[in-house]
């Protein structure tokens, strides 16, 4: 979080003002352009129509059913991927040999575009929750794995030596030195990995499922319904922003011991 000195507050208000003004101008231009017939609303929809569509979705509860499905896949996949990533990261950092043997494999697997694998996952694990969770795990795992691995490898040697002198057992070392050090790296990549998790779930749904936000978008698309596609995207965007704010709060809670960045 930014420091809230007097100067900052003023410039912050100004920033918000500019955001609102620009967004408003964009929406008005969009609305006007479609009403005057400069562009065909069939292709780009219309702000008022979009707003009505979303209001309708909320009123009928339609959107919540799909949002819940997507969030479920995202959260389950994220937790599993993080757990696996931390575990394997620890293992590899601990047994140098393991890391040396599997290094090319990890790099190759990570370089593989997971989006292209999605159809395979759907083939293997079906149209339901499982295939999406696998997709999410495959994305999240590598982000977390690499940060854990680096976090432990880059741990301050002086701290490790100090802990040894002070009498730390291997378990103490993990609990009081390695894990906290790795956590800072994991947290630094948290926004990336959560973003990946959501993308994984939505792409999985988009390519094959019968519920979730990806499905909503893909269905609207198949009906040539630009309004449906854009409304779906807007709802997703809102979800991402909400999650991001939550993560920033969480990060602030866990980095209480760090100097405040200027």
């Amino acid at each position: 979080m930014l420091a809230t000195s007097g100067v900052d507050k003023v410039s912050r208000a100004e920033v918000y003002l500019w955001r609102v003004v620009l967004l408003g101008a964009f929406l008005i231009l969009w609305e006007a352009a479609t009403r005057r017939g400069w562009v065909d609303p069939f292709f780009v929809s219309q702000p008022t129509v979009l707003a009505m569509q979303i209001a309708d979705w909320i009123r009928t509860g339609f959107i919540f059913r799909h949002l819940v499905v997507t969030m479920q896949e995202t959260i389950i996949g994220f937790l599993l991927g993080t757990l696996l990533g931390v575990a394997v990261g620890f293992l590899f950092a601990h047994w140098e040999k393991l890391a040396r043997i599997f290094d090319p494999l990890m790099v190759a697997l990570n370089a593989m575009p997971r989006v292209v694998l999605a159809p395979l996952f759907i083939l293997w694990f079906g149209l339901g929750l499982l295939s999406k969770v696998v997709m999410v795990v495959s994305l999240v795992f590598f982000v977390v794995f690499f940060s854990t691995y680096t976090g432990i490898r880059e741990v301050d040697r002086d701290l490790v030596n100090n802990a040894r002198i002070l009498g730390a057992s291997p378990r103490h070392m993990i609990r009081h030195v390695l894990l906290p050090s790795a956590l800072t790296w994991i947290f630094a990549s948290l926004r990336t990995s959560v973003g990946f998790a959501l993308i994984g779930a939505v792409v999985g749904e988009y390519l094959g499922s019968h519920e979730g936000m990806g499905y909503v978008i893909s269905y609207a698309e198949s009906m040539f319904n630009a309004t449906g596609v854009l409304a779906g995207l807007l709802v997703l965007m809102a979800a991402v922003i909400a999650i991001d704010i939550g993560l920033q709060r969480l990060d602030a809670r866990f980095s209480y011991w760090k100097p405040v960045p200027k």
Partner: protein, 260 residues
Amino acid sequence: MTQRFALPREDREFTAVQDVSFDIGGGEFVSIVGPSGCGKSTLLGLIAGLVPISAGHISLDGQPVDGVNARLGFVFQRDALFPWKTVAQNVGLPLLFRGVDAASARPRVADWIARIGLTGFERYHPHQLSGGMRKRVALAMTMVYEPQIVLMDEPFGALDVQTRNLMENDLLEIWAQSRRTVVFVTHDLEEAIALSDRIVVMTASPGRVKAVYTISLPRPRSVTEIRFHPDFGRLYETIWKDLKDEVRVGYERSRQGLAG
């Protein structure tokens, strides 16, 4: 003993200290002085059992050093506080590691925090402290578990003169009370003379023992007053003559190293 480090990228070895040999008696306060890079920190790392020795041997109380010794304390050159722990948690950490239960650890931690003058700062994190305060926490962290042997690597190097003198006096007091063995690394000859029973002067890299001096100034000492003792100046001059040459050699060599 001799310590060589492999330089994997250059496919050769670097000799940090060579044929160093000395004995330290129990309860003695010994300082090691020498030019920068002569292997003082390396030497302490070897005594602490943090790095395996290349050749020779070190023993503590007749036991060869092979790994970290629980009765030993080490105040590092760079204060190695745990940034995610508060002052109180840092000071209490060695007790936690040793399985001391929280109830009996608490008064000991509080006592040491009071002795380093940081009462009221228990819940601060290291980044909220000044450099001198961090050094003091590092000192308390080492002293709280009452190690028999204390290694100190330029513990007061980064402090202003006033704080430094205060802490030096504190150290002498603690040492006098408990009669621990202290091995104290410094590049400040005055500090070494004021504190020690003996001073080991090392040569420029690769470090060897150049000379050992016994400092028989009266105790108890106050570091600020002992400087005016008639013997102090004489000792300083003699040892400085030894040290000066080495500092110059070390400096020239590192400059040539940079040029070539």
